[in-house]
C-alpha cells in the first residue's frame, strides 16, 4: 500500500479561490477581452442591486484607462448605500461571500462570486491590489481599502486601510487593474446600452480612454426592490431541507407552515399524512430517510404557486418601450409583460418586446436582446432557450421573412426572463436553460407581439398605398396630360377635376419651376379650410406673394409661415423666387383630410 500512502501525501483540500484560478472560464474570465466585460458587468450588477435595495436612483460612473502597454485600470463608482467597513474585505476579497445567495427573490448577482473573481483575476494578471472606497452615509467618513485574496485559504488580505476624503455622501468605488485589451469595446458599449434599456431608471456615464458616453435615464421612479420570500415546497432540494430542519426546533407541522411560502395548516397536515410521519414530531429529530419521505410528500402535495408580485420585479411594458425608444430609433415598439408563472417551485415572469423599422438595419438577422433579471446576456446566444423560442416561431405568419429560423429585416426582439432562480446553462450566466414552462411563456409573448407587429405593418402598407395613389393622381397624371395634349395638339387639359373627384382632401402641391417656387393649395373638401402652411427651405421667400405671415432663420434654413383660408373647391397659390427643396407642412387640418405632394421628388 505504498502507492496509496504516496498518493495520500498529495491529496489535500482545494480552496475555492484555487479552484477558480484554474477554471477561469467558468466565471467568464476565459480571455482578457472578455475579462473587462465580465468585471464591469459584475460591478454594475452589484451597484444596481445595491441602489435598488437602498431605493435610490442609480448614477453609475464607469472608466476604463490604459495604464501601461497591456494593463487597464477599470473604475466603477455608484451612489448606492455603501458597504460597512467591516464587510468590505469580505465582499471583495473572499469568493462565495454574499448577502443574496440564500434569499429567494429576483436579484442580478446571486452567488457572490462575481466581483471577487475580478479581484482574483487582477491579482493573477497584474499583481496590483484592488482599491475599494466606500461610504455609508453623511455621518460616516469614507474608507479606502487595498485588497488581495489569499488564494490558498480564500480569505481577504488587507494590504492597507485608511480614512479617505470623498465628496460622495454614500456610495462605493472599486478600482481594478488587470492585463487586457480593448478589442471588445463595441461589445462593452453594447452591454451598457442594453443594460440601460432594461434599467431605465439608471444613468450611466462612461469614459473610455478619451471618449465619453452617457446613457441617460428615462424614468425618475425608483423601482420597487423585490422582497425575499420563503422557499416554496416544490422548489427545494434535500440538502436545503436538511439544513433548515437542523436549525429549527419546531414540530414538523409548524415547521412546514412557518418556513415555507404558501403552506397552510391544511397543506401541512396533508404533507404529513402523505409522508406517514407524525406532524407533532420535532423536525430536527428526523432521520435522513424520514426527511426524504417528507420531501417527496412536499413535492407531491398541491400547494398554490409562490407569491410572485413581491419577489419579482418586472420592468413593465411602458418602461421597456421607453427604454428601447431612447436607444434605438424605430417606427414601432410593442412590449408584453406576461403573468407570473412557476417552474419547479421557482417563480418567473417573461417580458418581451418587438421593435420594427426606423434606423434598424434593413437586412440581415433581427437584433436579439436577451436579459435575465435585468442583466443583458452577451454570449452563447446559440445555446440559449430564448434563441430557441425565437427561431421556433413561424414568423412568416406575421409577414416577417425568416431565414434559418431567424426572423430577418428591420426587427428587434427583446426577451427578459425574471426569476427567483434563473436556470442558467453554466456559472458564467450567459444562456438560459431550456425549461418547458419558460419556453412556453416566451413563445406566447412573442406570438402576441408578432400579431401586433403584423397589424402595424399592414396598416403602414395601406397608408403607403394611399400615398402611392396620391402620387399618381397629383404628380404623374398632370404629366400625362401635358404630353397627351401636345400629341393631339389641343389646349392643356386641366386635371384638377380628377384630383378633386378622387381625393376629397386638401391637396398641397409644391413645385420649383424656372427659378420660381409655387405652392398650390386645392380645397376639395366640402368645408372651409383654415390652415397654416409651414415651409422650411434655404429660400428666403422675401418676394413671396402673398407675403409670409412669419419668417425665421436657423443654420441657413428659413422657416416661412402663412395662414390661409380656402373655401371649398377653391385654390390658393403662394409663389416666390427660389430654388425649392426643403419641407412643406400643412397644419390645422386632420391628417386624413390633407395630402402634401412634392412635385420635384
Amino acid at each position: 500500500m505504498v502507492l496509496a500512502e504516496d498518493l495520500a501525501k498529495q491529496q489535500r483540500s482545494i480552496s475555492v479561490a484555487e479552484f477558480f484560478e484554474k477554471n477561469k472560464h467558468l466565471l467568464g474570465f476565459d480571455s482578457p477581452t472578455r475579462g473587462v466585460i465580465t468585471t464591469i458587468k459584475e460591478a454594475v450588477d452589484n451597484s444596481l442591486d445595491a441602489c435598488e435595495e437602498a431605493q435610490v436612483l442609480p448614477d453609475i460612473f464607469i472608466s476604463i484607462k490604459k495604464v501601461s502597454n497591456e494593463v487597464f485600470r477599470i473604475i466603477v463608482e455608484d451612489n448606492g448605500p455603501g458597504i460597512v467597513p467591516a464587510q468590505v474585505p469580505f465582499v471583495f476579497g473572499k469568493l462565495l461571500y454574499g448577502s443574496r445567495f440564500h434569499q429567494i427573490r429576483q436579484t442580478r448577482g446571486q452567488q457572490g462570486i462575481g466581483i471577487s473573481a475580478a479581484v482574483l483575476y487582477a491579482q493573477l494578471t497584474s499583481g496590483v491590489p484592488t482599491i475599494v472606497i466606500s461610504r455609508t452615509g453623511a455621518k460616516e467618513s469614507a474608507r479606502r481599502f487595498e485588497i488581495l485574496i489569499r488564494i490558498e485559504t480564500n480569505e481577504p488580505d488587507i494590504v492597507s486601510e485608511q480614512p479617505f476624503e470623498w465628496d460622495r455622501i454614500h456610495g462605493t468605488r472599486v478600482q481594478i487593474e488587470f492585463k487586457s485589451t480593448m478589442t471588445a469595446k463595441k461589445k462593452l458599449l453594447e452591454y451598457l446600452r442594453y443594460t440601460s434599456v432594461v434599467n431605465p431608471h439608471a444613468r450611466f456615464r462612461i469614459e473610455l480612454d478619451e471618449e465619453s458616453f452617457t446613457f441617460e435615464r428615462v424614468s425618475q421612479e425608483v423601482i420597487d426592490c423585490p422582497v425575499a420570500i420563503q422557499p416554496h415546497p416544490h422548489g427545494i432540494e434535500f440538502g436545503q431541507l436538511k439544513r433548515m430542519a437542523a436549525q429549527s426546533d419546531l414540530r414538523i407541522a409548524d415547521f412546514l407552515v412557518e418556513s415555507f411560502s404558501r403552506v397552510g395548516r391544511k397543506s401541512a397536515q396533508e404533507i404529513c399524512e402523505r409522508s406517514g410521519i407524525k406532524g407533532t414530531l420535532k423536525v430536527n429529530g428526523l432521520s435522513s430517510d424520514a426527511l426524504k419521505k417528507l420531501l417527496t410528500a412536499m413535492q407531491d402535495t398541491a400547494v398554490p404557486a409562490p407569491p410572485a408580485t413581491q419577489c419579482l420585479s418586472p420592468i413593465g411594458e411602458d418602461l421597456i418601450r421607453r427604454g428601447l425608444e431612447k436607444e434605438f430609433q424605430m417606427d414601432f415598439v410593442a412590449a408584453r409583460t406576461r403573468p407570473s408563472s412557476v417552474f419547479s417551485g421557482h417563480s418567473f415572469m417573461v417580458e418581451a418586446a418587438i421593435g420594427y423599422g426606423g434606423r434598424l438595419p434593413a437586412e440581415g438577422n433581427a437584433i436579439l436582446l436577451r436579459f435575465a433579471n435585468r442583466v443583458p446576456l452577451m454570449y452563447q446566444q446559440g445555446a440559449c432557450a430564448i434563441t430557441e423560442c425565437v427561431t421556433g416561431i413561424n414568423w412568416k405568419v406575421y409577414n416577417i421573412p425568416q431565414q434559418g429560423g431567424f426572423p430577418t429585416g428591420p426587427v428587434l426582439i427583446l426577451v427578459h426572463v425574471a426569476s427567483t432562480n434563473v436556470p442558467f446553462t453554466s456559472e458564467s450566466k450567459d444562456a438560459i436553460a431550456g425549461i418547458a414552462e419558460i419556453e412556453k411563456e416566451i413563445t406566447l409573448a412573442l406570438q402576441d407581439l408578432g400579431r401586433e407587429l403584423k397589424n402595424f405593418v399592414s396598416r403602414r402598407d395601406r397608408s403607403k398605398l394611399a400615398d402611392d395613389r396620391a402620387r399618381a393622381v397629383c404628380a404623374i397624371i398632370p404629366e400625362i396630360a401635358e404630353k397627351v395634349s401636345s400629341i393631339v395638339e389641343k389646349p392643356l387639359v386641366d386635371t384638377s377635376a380628377i384630383e378633386g373627384k378622387l381625393m376629397h382632401k386638401l391637396i398641397a402641391k409644391k413645385a420649383g419651376r424656372d427659378g420660381n417656387v409655387i405652392i398650390e393649395l386645392n380645397n376639395y373638401t366640402a368645408q372651409d379650410a383654415e390652415v397654416t402652411v409651414y415651409e422650411i427651405s434655404p429660400d428666403t421667400a422675401a418676394d413671396a406673394v402673398p407675403k409670409a405671415d412669419f419668417t425665421s432663420e436657423a443654420d441657413g434654413q428659413f422657416t416661412k409661415v402663412w395662414k390661409v383660408r380656402i373655401p371649398p373647391r377653391e385654390v390658393r397659390r403662394i409663389s416666390y423666387s427660389g430654388k425649392g427643396g426643403g419641407i412643406l407642412e400643412i397644419r390645422g387640418i386632420e391628417d386624413a383630410k390633407k395630402m402634401v405632394v412634392d412635385l420635384d421628388v
Binding site: 395613389r469 404623374i476 400629341i487 380628377i498
Partner: protein
Amino acid sequence: MSKEELEKKSMEALLRIAGVWYEQMKAGEIPSISLPTRTKYNIEFDDASEVWKYGDKESMRTAASAKSATHLLKMAYVIGFIKQQLIENRSSTLREMYYISEGWKRAKFGAQDESNFLIEDLEILSDVPREGFHLHPEENGASIYGPMRIREETRRGMKTLHCQDDVGQAGYTIPNNVENIELVDHDAKFVIAIETGGMYDRLIENGFDEDHHAILVHLKGQPARSTRRMLNKISMAWDLPVMVFTDGDPWSYRIYASVAYGAIKSAHMSEILATPRSQFLGLQPSDIRDYNLPSDKLTEKDTEALKSELTDPRFATDYWKKQISLQLEMNLKSEQQAFAARGLDFVTKKYLPARLSEMGII
C-alpha cells in the same frame, strides 16, 4: 399594304389612343387602357385565319397607382416619339429608343425589356406592326438556301438574287424588314425550316436542296420575327408546305409552335407571322425509339416544360399528346445531329426521304 398606307394607319391609330386619354381626362376620369391578357390561357384558335390569337380576356390599366400611371406616361412619351419619327421619316431600333428615353425623366425606361413590352402593347392597341412605327429589331433574320429568286429593295438600290446561284455557301441573309422583299420565282416543292446551324450546313453540303427541290431555312434557335414573317410570306405566296425540323426536346417543340401558330408574346401579329401550313417533321420522340438514337435523360426542367405543353392550346392535338406522353415515358431527348451516329449521309439519304414520304410530301 403599301408603305404609305401603313404609315397613315399607324399615325391615325396612335393619335386615336392619345385622343381617348385626352377625352377621359377632360371628363375628369383617370386615363386608362385595356389590353388583352398576354398569357397562354388567353390565346384562341381563329378558324378564319387558322392561327392562334388573343382571346377576350382583357386587363385594364388605370393610372390610379404610381406604377400604372408611370406606364401610361411612358406610353404617351413613346407615342409622341413615334409621331415625330413618322413626320420626319426616320427610323430607329428598339435599343436606340431605349437610349433616347434617357431624356424622358420620369418616363424613362428602366430596362430594354420594358420598352419591348410597351411596343408590343402599342402593336396590339393600334393593330399596326412595329415596322409601321419605323421601329425595327436589333437582330438580323436567319439564312435561306434553295431554288428561289427574290428582289430586295436595299438602301443601295434594288437587287435581284437567286438563293443558290447568287449567294455564298451560307445562303441569303433575311433582312429585318421583310416587307421590302419581293418573291420573284422558284423551283421548289417544299420548305424545310431547321433549328440548328449544323443540320442546315449538313443539308447544303449533302445537296439535299438540289436533290429534292427544297428551300432550306435556318431558324437560328427561336426564330426572329423577320424569319417567321419570311416563312409566312413564302408559304402564302407560293403555296408551299413548310416542314419544321428541330431537336427532340420540349424547347424545340415551342420553336415549331411559334412558326406554326405564333408566339404568346406576339399573338396579336399571328396573321402575318405564323405559318399555319407548317408541319412538324422531327425529331419526334418516336424517332428516338425507332432509330435508337443516342440520347440524354430529361432534366427536371424538361419534364416540367413537357407537362406544361400538355396544357398549352397549341399542342392540344392527338399527335402531340401521344408524342409528349411517349417522351415523358421514355424520359429521353435527342438532338437532331444525333443522326450522325448512323453516318453523315443517314439524315439526307434515309431519314428525311422516309419521313417526308410518310408525310406525303415526296
